[in-house]
Structure formats: C-alpha cells, structure tokens
C-alpha cells in the first residue's frame, strides 16, 4: 500500500501530520492557558479532582505503542468529536452564565473549539488518505448530558479541559507515529486487513 501511495498523497499526509502535531501542541498550550483562566474565572480549585468525562475516550491507554495508525486516528477522531460537542455546550453554558461580560473566556473557549474542530478535520483528512471511510457521527454526537447544577457544569468543564489537554499530548504523539513511513505502512496494512 505504501508503495502504491502517490508522492502527492504522501506529501499531503506528511503535511497533515505535521500540521496536526503543531495544532495539537498549540491546542494544548491554549487549553492549559484556558484552564488557568477557567479555574480562576469559575472560582474552582485547580487541584480539584474531577471524574472522567462521559462520552470521551480516555487518553491514556495500555499498549499505546501497539496501536495501528488507523486505530489511533479513529480514537482521536472520536475523542475530538466528543470534545467538540462538549466545548460547544460549555460555550453555550458560559454565555448563559456570564453573558457578554466575560468575552475573554468565551473567546478562548471558542478558539479552542475551533482548534478541536480543525483537528477533527485533520483526522478525517488523514483517514481519507488512508482510504478509509470516515465513520459517521452518531446522531448529533454523544447523548445530551443530564441537566447539571451550575457547580457540576463548572466541574465538568474543568474535566473536559483537562482531558482535552491530555488528548492534545496524546494526539501529537499519535500523529508523530503516523508520520513515520513504516508505521504508516503498518497502519495501511492493518486497515486493509481489518474487516
């Protein structure tokens, strides 16, 4: 498969990986900054423990290095689609809570949301290059979360941002793996063998 990959496709793939890595890095940096602002703005304790966010695959996995490229792409795509929905919800809640008074936090959330969307687009493009169909989003995404209290919303937002920060790190590592030619071949092979 790798041999069959055209030079332009390989170039495109390398470019997408490169951009994705840098986008992941930028996203992580922005999310870290956003976390600080969010904690401060929401009056939360930065050390507060937050339960895992529902609907988001955990960033930490066992045998990460044994994953194929496609698996990595699919897991990333699922996660970022979930983040996109969660961040959009957070942005809505943010607007409801603070109105237009805190535009800075809202802009930062919107910027991170755009980056998440952009990263999801990268992943979809990479999957297209792998000649794999892009899995459709399940309905309108994850099921709407139950109505939460304001504090719970804040905590959940904190959890989303923390998880996003972890995913940003993992995504960068995943894309670096994908950028390696051998792994790319493996990913293509595994994708071809997968049902």
């Amino acid at each position: 498969m790798a041999a069959a990959e055209s030079p332009s496709a390989a170039l495109r793939r390398r470019d997408l990986c490169s951009r994705g890595i840098r986008l992941a890095g930028k996203m992580r940096a922005d999310v870290v900054d956003l976390l600080d602002a969010y904690v401060e703005r929401q009056g939360l304790d930065a050390s507060a423990s937050v339960a895992a966010v529902e609907g988001v695959p955990p960033a930490a996995v066992e045998r990460w290095d044994e994953q194929t490229g496609t698996q990595r792409l699919l897991e990333n795509l699922a996660a970022y689609r979930a983040f996109r929905a969660l961040l959009a919800q957070m942005l809505e809640e943010q607007r409801e809570q603070l109105g237009e008074a805190d535009t800075g936090l809202g802009r930062a959330l919107a910027a991170v949301l755009l980056q998440v969307s952009a990263f999801a687009y990268h992943l979809e493009e990479l999957l297209r290059l792998e000649s794999r169909g892009i899995p459709g989003e399940e309905g309108d995404g994850p099921p709407p979360p139950p109505r939460l209290s304001l504090f719970e919303q804040k905590l959940r937002g904190l959890g989303v941002l923390r998880e996003l920060a972890q995913w940003a790190v993992r995504s960068a590592r995943d894309l670096r793996q994908l950028a390696k030619p051998s792994l790319a071949t493996d990913a293509a092979t595994s994708l071809a063998e997968s049902p």
Binding site: G25, K26, A29, A111, Q115, S117
Partner: protein, 918 residues
C-alpha cells in the same frame, strides 16, 4: 372656442391626476408610469423603456400614446427612438446607455402644445464588478496570543455603482463569517484566525449588475505570520574582550511555531551592518553570544525572527541595543618614522620621531602612553634611553650615528608589540626604482619597483607643494611585499611631492621622489609676458614662471601668441623651462600684441596682452646716419670757421666797425669853414635856414655790389683799411651797434658815409637798443663823433686833437658810400639786420611812411631800395636833397643847425620839416 376650453379642462384634469396619489392613500392618480422602474443599467448596453398610460386618462383627457414625448434631463429624446406600441404604450430605445442621464421622463403634449409630465424614472448606469485579483494575506501578531490576518486585493475597475466586497474564508467543514471591509474596497482584516488548518480565502465583489469572486487562496495562516520582533533585548559583556552576549524574549509561543533569528550588529558610528551567520541562529533561542568583536568597541545590536522553516515573514527588527566589549592590549605597535634635521650641524641631528596613533581596532582600548626607547647601535656601551610620551611625536637631539628606536603603545590592559625603526648614519642602501604615480578616482596610486635586496618596509612621504605654505609631510608605511599603495586625502589640482624610502633590515635606502597631481586642470592664470628688448625685427620677451599654486598641473609648454593689429596671430611653442624668448622676423615700426599661454594636460590659460612696437631703425642704422651728418656738419663748421678766420678782417669791419674816437676828433675839422670845402655846399644853399642843412643818405643794398665798378670799390678797400686801422679809436659802443639793431648798423654804415660825405657832417654813432622781445626799447645815444658845435667845450678840445687827417678820410668815406653796398656781401650780418628791422617794425613805421611818400609804395626794405639803387648811387646827394626822401639813417644823422640843435647828448630824430627828439 370649444376646443380651447376642452384642452384647458384636460390640462387641469391631468394636473389633478399627476398631483394625486393612489386612491387608497393619495389624492390624485397618475396618468401613466414607466417600465422598468429606476433601472440599473450596464454601461454601453442598450435600453428600452415603456411609458404606459392609464385608461382613465384616455377617456377623460383624450391622451394617447402618440402624444408621448421622452426627455432625458429636460432634453428631448429624438422621436426616431420612439415607438408607439399601442394607443396607451410608447417605448423609447437607447442603443448605448452612456447617452442616458437622470431623470428619464415620459411627457405628453396636451392639445399639441401644453407639455405635461406623466412619469419619470432614475436611470443608474454602471459596470458589473470585475474579478478581484492579486489576493494576498498576511498574519500580523498583535500580542502574545493575538493574531490578525489582513488580506488585500485589487478590486478592479471602478463600477460607478455601490459595490460590496467581502472577504470570505472557510474550512472544508466550516464556514466563517465574512469580513466586510470598512471605508476601503481592497483590504480586510480577520481577527479570529486559526492556525494549522488550511483555510480557503477568497474575495467576493457584488453590485446591482453582478457578482464576481477572486480566485481562492488556500493557506494555513501560520505560514503567513509576521511575528512580533523579540523584546527586551539585552547586551552584556562577556569574559572575553571579543564577545558580547545578547538575550531577548520571544512573543511567539513554541507551541505555535518555532522561530529562527537574524542578529545584526555594527560599530557605533558606522553605517554598515554585519550579521551573525544565519545558520548559527536558525533554531529557537532566547540568547546568543556574538564573537569576533573588537575589544573596547561599542556595538549596536538588533534582532528579528520568523518561523523556523522560513515560511512566512520576518518580523521587524527589534529596537537597537548597544554594548561595549572590554579592553584588550594593543594588537600592534604604532607605525613610526622620523625626520632628521641636520641643518644646524651635520654631526649633530635633531631627530623628530613621529608615529601614528593606533586605530581603535588596533589600540583595543585607550592608549595611556607610548614608551620610546632609543639605542645607539654604534656604541654598545651607551645606555638605553627611555621616554614616556603621551603624544605621537618626540624630538631628540642626537649625534650623528646609527640608532634603533622602539615605540610601544600601552593601555590599561597591557603593551603592544614594539615597533622598531632603524636610523642609520646614512641612507646608503639602494633606493626604489621606477617611481610613478597614477590617479585612481579620488586616490593617488604610488607605485615603484622594488630594489633587488629584500625590503622590510617602505615609507612613503608626501606633502603638498605650495608657494604659500611649507611642505607639511605626511607619511605612510607599506609592507615590503607591496609595490604600490593608494594615497588618500589627496586634493585635486595640487602638486604633491612624493618620496619613497625602502627600509632594510640593516639600513635604509635613499629616497626617490616624484611630483604628481591627482587631477590636473588648466592653469589658474597665464604668464605675464613683457619685452626685455625690442629691436627693428626682433623682440626679446621675458616672463616669470607660474607659481606652483597657479599651475594646477604640469606645465607642458608655453605658447607665445603674437600678432599685429590687423595680422594673423602667430603661435610659438616654448619649452616650459624657459623664461625668455626672442621673437624674430618682425616688421619694423609695427605695433605687436603678444600674450602668453601656459598649457597643462588639461587645458591652457592665457596671460594678459602686452603690446610693443618694433623700432623703425635697426641697431646701428641711426648711428650710420647721424655720424656722417654730424661729421659733415662739423666739417662745414670747420670750413666756416676757417673762412671766417681768413675773412676776419672783413667780418670784423662789418661786425665791429671802427667807431671814430671823439677824443681824437679835431674841432677844426668841423669848423664852419670845412664844409665849405665840401662838395655838399649846394645843400647849404638849398636850405639856407638850416632846417636840413646837411642830410646824408645812405642806402644799403645787398645787391648793389654789382652796380659798382671796381674802380668804385677801390677806395672802399682803402676805407676798410682805414677802418681797420682806426679800430683802436672805435668805442665799444660802436662794436655793439652792429649787433644790436639795424638802425645802429645803418648808422654804422652811415657813420662812415656821413664822415665821407662832408667834413662838416656831424658824425654820430647812434646806439639804439632794441628792447628785448616785447620790452620797451631804450634808445641811448652813447657816442658821437660829431664836430658840430653842440658838443660841450671839453669835447671840443678832445675833438680838436683829431687833426686835419680826418678830412681826407671823410673824402674817402664818401667814396666809400658806393662801396658801402659792397659791404652788403657780408650777408649774414645784413640779413640779420634786416630781420631785426622787420622785428622793429614799430620803430620804423615812421621811416616807412617817409619813404613811401617820396618814391614808392613798396614796403620798406632793401628790395625797394634796390629799385632806386642806381639813382641813389649816382645822385646820392641829390637824392638826399632834391628827392626829399628822408632816410631814417639820414634823418638820424641829419646835422642840425647850430641854433636848433639841442645841447644834449640824447639821440635826435629828424623828420621832414623838422626834427623830433626820440
């Protein structure tokens, strides 16, 4: 009549309809309308409008489509463009909308005369938007986290319409809000941009006539970032004197993009920047140590950055920061040279040591002092002499010898390597050869051929040669392996004396000099030429050399240009070393104009004109003429003198006639009896009353000599002898008489005559002194030889001693009367007399008148007398008596009667019919 009222009613109805609004809300309904309503038309297209009349107007006002006229802004549209579609619709067509204007109105002519407006529309003509071109975008970093993207494009031609431009961008799965430019139509700034995603950007232009989109630009905004320049740049000195450390802060996070940098630096005061090699700063960093700097030098630094991969834009240069490197010991010793002044004594030198101050990059700090060491190489035992000098020169008094001079520059860190100069007792080594110069732009290249021996260094001395100032020596040292250097700071048009000395390890070569100009010009003035000597056909010209300040270049030659007033100019080229030239083959007695031109390689200039005239005669010509003339004159004079000497008696007789000495006169001779014996008794008879008792007339004719026979002349010769013998009796007064006046001369002649005429004649010697020039003459009778009784008694006694000899003498004198004219051959004397007579014309007027009355109307003169010469000679006495011609001489000497003669010694003048005292 009915018809008129009918049309008035129609017009009124139309006005009501036009002014009304719709039935629902207005007052009056319009009679028609135009389709299309206020269209926007493309410029240059064709256009057709329809005016549709309401049916109600047709019925009441008898208005039909054929009565419709179209107007554009009150200008009637030609009816050829109308078309009546039916009884209620009229159309108008424009082939080119550029001829349209607003408003376009539909009007009707009621009753064929009254024009009423039915409807009007606004026509807008414009162009569809062009496709925007040259879309480009750049992302500016505004702060650490804020980036904006500004896109610009070419909006295309002016559309004359309100055209909207929109900058649109999108991701494949997401479309962002459009960016609508404000106040401009060619740029827009997007504030919400996301990196690392390819974004499609395009421009959309739209107006009433259409819409156009630019070609899309697909890019990742991170690739067009122009980041902010590094901030808070600090420069700190390193441990080494050649290193400065820079540190700064980056505004761009590493997560967004990695940066590379450019570092540039320059020495303060220098305009040229140097850059740190880009590969040294091609990775993200916040500090850098710049090496290879000069010690103790202030540097200016500036930094910029861009994305590491080089995609995007460089930031602006950061603000400049300065830093100074630390000092280091001087890197080299100063260049040293000397000027030896041996003018006071050849055995004792005044050595002026001089050295160049180290350049900053050589001094590596502030030079605190120079240490000068002088070692006498001719005597090993002599101690070293050390001097600490803060200036760059030092003067030593040294005996003639060989010395080694060492100079060390010292700063706060340490000392420089020593500079050594060997001063030999004599410059006996080989000099450089083939010394030459060549101007190169603003520098003067000096080249030479090296001597055969190995040369350590060359010293090049040069100085500006000027007549107004001393030659101030500048110098420079060149290494021994070069054979030419450029001299800077050389002024054009100035003469420089350049000397090159080779320095050997064991001595010094003699200097070779050359004079040179960086640039030559024509002389600032020309030579002033003048003549040293002018001859008939040649002239020696001289001039002074131009001063070196006036030359402006090497004088290649002088050109002498000379010409006559109307002649062609002749040019002669003269060697510039000369100051004199002889022009030859000139025309004599001719005015020449000469000027002199001095020429350099770059032109000439003439001096002032000088004129001279060649001489008429050549050298020796005048002498050749004058000397013979003088000799001839001398010869003539000599001959004249000899002649006069030979004829001195004759001359003496006429010039200094013998004046009878009254003291020797004898009273008996002029006793009354004596005249009775005389031939002139008849006179007395004729004038018994004694008015003219005795008048003797002597006419002196220059040419009378001819008429006298030799026989007549003989007695005259005797008379002359008599006179000469009686010279001792003549008084000095008589001598002066000939010289003084003609009257005297005549008188003198007459004197002899009268003494000859009669023994009774009163002999006078009348001295008449003419006034000198205009002065009133004083007439003095000084002497008389008269024997007349007027004399005083004492004179009589003297006269008495004259004896009877006088009678015979008087007889001879009378005979001599004719010979008197012969004496006229002594022309100079007589001519002179005549001239004086003319000069004393005033005195002689009376005589002239008297003569004219008697004989002739000719003026008084010898010529007149010449006419009557023969008569005068033959009838001397008659002439004197019968003709009653009174000659002045005769008048003067006319003896008065005893009674009437005043007893005076004053001269007396007798006129006709009496005598008058003068």
């Amino acid at each position: 009549m009915f018809s008129r009222w009918n049309w008035v009613a129609c017009g009124f109805y139309l006005m009501l309809n036009i002014c009304s609004s719709d039935a629902s809300g207005g007052l009056v309904q319009s009679c028609g309308y135009i389709i299309p309503e206020s269209p926007v038309l493309a410029l240059g297209s064709n256009f057709t409008a329809l005016c549709i009349l309401n049916e109600s107007c047709l019925d009441f006002g008898n208005i039909y489509a054929n009565q419709i006229i179209w107007k554009i802004k009150n200008r009637l549209v030609p009816k050829e463009q109308y078309r009546e579609i039916n009884r209620t619709v009229s159309s108008v067509t424009f082939n080119d909308t550029s001829s349209l204007a607003t408003p376009l109105t539909c009007n009707i002519l009621a009753d064929g005369q009254i024009e009423q407006n039915i409807y009007g529309i606004t026509v807008t003509v414009g162009l569809a938007p062009e496709k925007p071109k040259n879309l480009s975008c750049i992302v500016h970093q505004m702060s650490k986290l804020t980036y904006v993207m500004t896109c610009t494009w070419n909006p295309g031609r002016h559309t004359f319409l309100d055209t909207q431009f929109r900058l649109r961008y999108s991701w494949p799965q997401e479309v962002f809000p459009d960016c609508i430019p404000k106040d401009v139509n060619n740029s827009c700034t997007i504030t919400d941009i996301q990196f690392f995603v390819n974004t499609e950007i395009w421009v959309e232009a739209a107006n009433a006539l259409g819409k156009a989109e630019s070609d899309p630009l697909v890019l990742d905004p991170v690739d067009i970032v122009k980041p902010l320049s590094p901030q808070n740049v600090l420069v700190s000195s390193g441990i080494l004197p050649t290193v400065l450390k820079l540190s700064w802060e980056n505004w761009v996070s590493d997560a967004l993009m990695r940066l590379k940098f450019n570092i540039r630096y320059r020495i303060v005061g220098d305009t040229n920047w140097m850059e740190v090699p880009s590969e040294d700063t091609a990775s993200p960093r916040t500090s850098f140590s710049v090496q290879g700097l000069r010690p103790c030098t202030e540097y200016v630094f500036s930094i910029r950055c861009m994305k590491e991969d080089g995609v995007g834009y460089w930031s602006d240069w950061s603000e400049e920061k300065t830093g100074i490197t630390t000092e280091d010991k001087p890197s080299k010793g100063p260049s040293i040279w000397r000027i030896i002044d041996a003018s006071r004594s050849p055995a004792f030198w005044t050595v002026h040591l001089m050295w160049k101050a180290l350049k900053p990059f050589e001094a590596n700090g502030v030079v605190l002092q120079y240490e000068v060491t002088v070692r006498d190489k001719s005597s090993l035992s002599s101690p070293l002499k050390k001097y600490n000098v803060t200036s760059t020169n030092h003067t030593l008094q040294l005996p003639n010898g060989t010395y080694e001079v060492t100079v060390i520059a010292r700063n706060s860190v340490g000392a420089s390597p020593p500079s050594v100069l060997l001063i030999p007792a004599s410059n006996s080594k080989a000099p450089v050869k083939n010394l030459r110069t060549l101007p190169k732009h603003d520098k003067l290249w000096v080249g030479w051929t090296a001597p055969n021996s190995y040369v350590l260094k060359y010293v090049i001395e040069w100085c500006l040669v000027s007549s107004s100032s001393d030659c101030i020596i500048e110098w420079k040292i060149a290494q021994g392996d070069v054979q030419g250097i450029d001299l800077k700071g050389i002024k054009p048009f100035k003469c420089y004396l350049i000397t090159v000395y080779p320095l050997y390890a064991d001595g010094q070569g003699s200097g070779q000099s050359v004079m040179a100009y960086l640039k030559q010009d024509r002389p600032s003035k020309g030579p002033t030429v003048q003549t040293k000597k002018v001859g008939k056909a040649e002239a020696v010209l001289t001039w002074n050399h131009l001063t070196v300040d006036e030359q402006n270049g090497f004088i290649r030659n002088y050109t002498i240009l000379y010409k006559t007033i109307d002649g062609n100019e002749t040019a002669v080229t003269v060697d510039p070393s000369k100051t004199e030239y002889t022009l030859s083959s000139l025309t004599s007695d001719t005015l020449y104009t000469v000027r002199m031109m001095a020429s350099t390689d770059n032109g000439s200039r003439s001096g002032p004109d000088f004129t001279f005239t060649t001489q008429k005669f050549g050298k020796g010509e005048i002498e050749a003429i004058v000397v013979p003339v003088c000799l001839a004159f001398l010869l003539i004079v000599l001959l004249g003198v000899l002649f006069c000497f030979n004829k001195r008696d004759l001359i003496k007789k006429h010039i200094w006639p013998i004046v009878p000495d009254p003291s020797k006169s004898n009273i008996a001779q002029w006793s009354p009896q004596v005249p009775a014996k005389h031939n002139f008794n008849s006179k007395d008879q004729m004038y018994p009353e004694g008015s003219f008792t005795d008048v003797s007339v002597v006419e002196i004719e220059a040419d009378d000599k001819k008429s006298f026979s030799e026989q007549d002349l003989k007695p005259f010769d005797l008379l002359k002898k008599e006179k000469s013998t009686s010279e001792g009796h003549s008084s000095g007064i008589g001598g002066s008489s000939c010289m003084s006046s003609p009257r005297q001369s005549v008188s003198d002649s007459d004197e002899g005559e009268t003494t000859q005429n009669t023994s009774s004649t009163v002999q006078y010697s009348t001295v008449v002194l003419n006034g000198y020039r205009d002065q009133t003459p004083v007439q003095v009778f000084s002497r008389s030889e008269s024997t007349q009784p007027l004399l005083d008694s004492e004179e009589r006694s003297e006269d008495h001693a004259g004896g009877a000899d006088s009678t015979a003498q008087r007889q001879q004198y009378f005979r001599q009367n004719g010979g008197q004219d012969e004496t006229n051959t002594d022309r100079p004397c007589f001519e002179r007399i005549k001239q004086n007579a003319c000069a004393d014309e005033g005195d002689l007027v009376g005589f002239v008148q008297l003569q004219i009355s008697g004989q002739s109307s000719q003026p008084l003169g010898l010529g007149m007398e010449k006419n009557t010469q023969e008569a005068a000679l033959s009838n001397v006495f008659q002439t004197c008596t019968e003709g009653q011609t009174v000659r002045p001489q005769a008048v003067e000497e006319n003896p008065l009667s005893v009674d009437e003669m005043p007893k005076s010694y004053l001269p007396q003048t007798v006129r006709q019919g009496g005598y008058m005292p003068q």
